[in-house]
């Protein structure tokens, strides 16, 4: 084998283009004659549409078309259910999906009710201001905790209540465990997640070629192939007539998944109607309302433990806010339910959730995708149990960790991919002990913290652990081709939004084919290059697409060796692939450039033997039997100002295990970026709604993303426990950094304040909120 490409911290191959400003993002693409779209959106969370007056807008100079729902005819259809309900016995699920333009009723602020197509975006927005949408406001469902009250208004009038789903999953006998327990801790908790806030907003550009009867769509989607298949069906076209391209995308993090957003469905239709390219680029304000969120869950949770800290069982009942529609099924609350169990041996579990419609924007996965909520509940329960038992919080975790011999560990619960939640591999004690060691836990507890306390400083430390289900199916595919130039091309169907796929996938191929990674041209997110696959989500790109690429590369390697053995009249086992050549080991003069071999494999005369294929190419698929489970521990040191409740993060440390690592540099970036989003979620970012379900923090001046002065340097360490579920041994890493920050932050701040009666059972915790929680408690009001 030549130089190992796999596992190298290779500098990214896509960077030059990005750094020179030459990478094409969606708004950089503009075919001649492009028309531009602006949407009229509801300013009420809940209301009845009486009339929409578009007469003046239609007359506006430069306007090509103005539409309301009534103009869409049969094309007006609710969007598809993207993820059906899981096969859990007794599960209730009411699917209500978003519509292209609201008619009769609006169900959240920002829901589109009309659109204008014009010669420029400026004119489209001018004309939009001439449209009067007469909407009669209705009482909104703004409070998750009261959405199921009998007197609550109905988000969907045809349902009996605002219940979107009800799922209960159990393992073991929790009642028996509770009866046996020495201590039961029960608390209510609230975890509110925020928005993805990708630096690039969404956008769609469609260009109908009437002569060629082909539709090209550029879309900021994480999943171009499902979008192509769905749109072809809706538009009455063959799938081969529709090409969806996900160009360079400025961050995804979940909400750019195959949503069939109203804009995604309407722009291609408009291009076909008008015979011109049509473009819509979301602005930042729209991104706050019209792109999906992740949000709040309210948990009533309890843990039953023995006197020596052994978990006997956990019970959790929660409400999940799904927003006005639920196209993405139950992925988020199922993730919360299944991730709660964490790294621990939990013999009994009784978990029940109700997903609830509210008059707020739609909830779908955003980095972590509900896992945060579950991890928060479990980790906080453990901290409280430790406090009650007078035990060190690290010690209670240590006593309950699953051990290396416990894998595979089947929880018997149905996970988001509809398989049984099974942890494939891991070394949880090693991860925890490395964290304890690296952060200097003992030294801090025994020496530093007492010294700092004596100085009047409020410094605290916490450690939490988590498991992340990653790399789920169903499958991905890849085509690897050695071209006549000697370059190797790789096509995969997943979209890419900054994860470094152009580099890590090239490394996977280079490893097998014996070329330098910069000789490998990776194409992602273009259905013309690869039209089988699902998309980039659930930390699955490296795992599922990576293994499909690996399998295709192995097959191409086999073809190279077979043909070269024939050409060189040598034994296959005597051949080596190196430097873009294949030759007999120890006889460099014999070597044939791979490009020449590719030409010989695709002759213009003679015959290709029956049963063989021309070229040095393979298309291969990989479908994992189940998701892989990554895991890790995070540690944090904070200092709190007891007057202002300003919190300074002094250290942040991650020990992570995501199996075999393809590119440690890229992995490091994924972890650090995730942690920054986690920190934002704990402390800075908050979707503030008023009692009319109006979003009050819908700009970057009010919704605060962490900046370089807010995020501390993040120390990372890794262990590699390969996954047995795929040949590369890899596990997903995209979401891990963002998952456990909430309970970590709460525990570290509690520890810093050093008041045993203070319990922080909610996220986010801005300084204001910390102040309020502490004051309420001081006044005897109870937290």
């Amino acid at each position: 084998m030549s130089t190992r490409q796999f596992g190298r911290p290779l500098r990214r191959l896509e960077d030059e283009k990005l750094l020179k400003g030459k990478a094409a993002f969606i708004d950089d693409i503009e075919p001649a004659g492009t028309l531009h779209v602006a949407f009229v959106r509801s300013s009420f969370a809940h209301g009845r549409i009486n009339a929409i007056d578009v007469a003046e807008a239609r007359e506006y100079p430069g306007v090509k078309m103005v539409l309301t729902a009534a103009d869409l005819g049969d094309y007006w259809q609710p969007g598809p259910v993207l993820v059906p309900p899981p096969p859990v016995e007794g599960a209730v699920f009411h699917a209500r999906t978003q519509v292209p333009l609201a008619r009769d009723k609006v169900r959240h602020v920002g829901e589109p009710v009309a659109l204008v197509v014009a010669e420029s975006r400026y004119v489209a927005e001018d004309a939009r201001d001439e449209i009067f949408a007469d909407i009669e406001p209705l009482d909104p469902v703004a409070d998750l905790g009261r959405a199921l009250d009998p007197e609550a208004p109905l988000v969907h009038d045809d349902l009996e209540s605002n219940l979107a789903a009800h799922v209960r999953q159990t393992k073991g006998d929790y009642s028996a465990a509770r009866a046996e327990a020495d201590v039961v801790i029960a608390r209510n908790m609230r975890y509110d997640h925020g928005i993805a806030a990708s630096m690039e907003n969404r956008g769609v550009l469609a260009d109908w070629d009437a002569q060629g009867e082909k539709l090209t769509i550029w879309d900021t989607t994480q999943a171009p192939i499902p979008i192509r298949n769905g749109l072809a069906g809706m538009l009455g076209l063959s799938e081969s007539q529709v090409r969806v391209i996900a160009p360079f995308i400025g961050g995804g993090f979940g909400p750019k998944i195959m949503m069939f957003y109203p804009e995604e469905v309407l722009i291609p239709w408009l291009s076909m109607r008008l015979g011109r390219p049509v473009k819509w680029i979301e602005d930042r304000a729209e991104n706050f309302f019209a792109t999906t969120h992740e949000r709040e869950q309210l948990h009533e949770a309890e843990i039953a433990v023995t006197r020596d800290g052994k978990i006997l069982g956990v019970k959790d009942t929660f409400f999940h806010d799904t927003g006005a529609y639920d196209p993405y099924g139950l992925t988020v609350p199922i993730n919360s339910q299944c991730t709660l169990l964490g790294c621990y041996d939990v013999p009994s579990y009784d978990s029940e959730f109700r997903a609830v419609f509210t008059n707020k924007p739609i909830v779908t996965p955003y980095r972590g995708a509900g896992r945060q909520h579950g991890v928060f509940v479990m980790e906080r329960l453990l901290d409280l149990a430790a406090r009650e038992l007078g035990m060190d919080p690290v010690e209670i975790r240590r006593r309950n960790l699953l051990q290396p011999a416990d894998f595979p560990h089947n929880h018997g619960l149905i996970y988001q991919d509809f398989t049984e939640l099974t942890y494939d591999s891991g070394n949880y004690p090693e991860v925890l002990e490395r964290t304890v060691e690296a952060i200097g836990y003992r030294q801090f507890r025994e020496v530093e913290q007492p010294r700092l306390r004596a100085e009047g400083r409020h410094v605290g430390m916490a450690i939490v652990t988590y498991v992340e289900g990653t790399g789920i199916g169903p499958y991905e595919g890849a085509r690897v081709t050695v071209e006549a130039s000697g370059q190797v091309s790789v096509a995969t169907g997943v979209g890419t939004q900054g994860q470094g796929h152009f580099t890590s996938f090239a490394q996977v191929v280079a490893e097998q084919v014996g070329v330098e990674p910069d000789q490998v041209r990776v194409s992602t997110g273009d259905t013309a290059e690869m039209h089988w696959g699902t998309g980039t989500f659930a930390s699955r790109g490296a795992v599922v697409a990576g293994n499909a690429i690996h399998a295709a590369a192995l097959e191409v390697r086999r073809k190279i060796l077979d043909l070269a053995a024939e050409e060189l009249e040598a034994d296959r086992d005597d051949l080596e692939l190196q430097g873009g050549m294949v030759g007999v080991k120890g006889a460099p003069d014999s070597a044939i450039p791979l490009g020449d071999l590719a030409v010989r494999a695709n002759p213009l005369r003679g015959a290709v033997a029956p049963g063989t294929e021309p070229g040095l190419e393979s298309t291969t698929y990989f479908g994992p039997p189940g998701g892989t489970t990554a895991n890790g521990a995070h540690a944090m040191v904070v200092e709190v100002d007891p007057e202002t409740y300003a919190v300074e993060i002094k250290r942040y440390l991650v020990v992570h295990d995501c199996g075999t690592v393809i590119n440690p540099l890229i992995l490091q970036g994924q972890i650090q970026g995730g942690v920054a989003q986690g920190i934002g979620n704990c402390f800075f970012e908050e979707l503030v709604f008023d009692d009319q379900a109006q979003l009050l923090s819908a700009s970057f001046m009010d919704y605060l993303l962490p900046t370089a002065t807010d995020v501390p340097p993040i120390e990372c360490d890794h262990i590699e426990t390969p996954s047995p579920l795929n040949p590369l041994g890899v596990k997903g890493a995209g979401e891990a950094g963002a998952i456990p920050s909430g309970p970590l932050f709460a525990a570290a701040v509690e520890d810093a304040l050093g008041d045993p009666s203070l319990e922080l059972l909610e996220i986010p915790l801005s300084p204001n909120r910390l102040f309020e929680v502490s004051r309420t408690r001081d006044d005897g009001g109870g937290a």
Binding site: K20, E30, Y122, D126, G251, G498, G669, Q672, A708, T709
Partner: protein, 168 residues
Amino acid sequence: MANQARFPVRGTINGEEFEREVEPRLLLSDFIRHELGLTGTHVGCEHGVCGACTVLLDGESVRSCLLFAVQANGRKLETVEGLSQGDAPLHPLQEAFREEHGLQCGFCTPGFLMSLLPFLEENPSPTDQEIREALSGNLCRCTGYDHIVNAVRTAASSLRDAETAGAE
């Protein structure tokens, strides 16, 4: 208001002259991207917070989404495309971002580069804290900033080396 009066705007961008007639309300960011066709400058928020649209106006970093194109009349603009034109090697600042993995999706990156150029000119040997403060006007959602801080440190060092070599 359609068909507003148009005003001339002329100046230089990355050393080349331009001359256009534009509506007075046209944002500088839209002018650069859609009139001049330099799409390396990105638009992230259009309210002056994210910094993705940062360009240099007479050598100073500005948010092009908070200026009108007519305000650039008679002035000198520089965008990310000016850092290394055509097949020229990357500018040391760009090279440092590549070396330290200071970008992921890359959408915010041109804004970071254009904010950092005048910063490193004024402060060739910044401390990490100074670097973080200089970066705090630009939002990045992917990296967590650590690798960007490393990139700025690396860039400062190679720019200093180049300066010393040039002086010798």
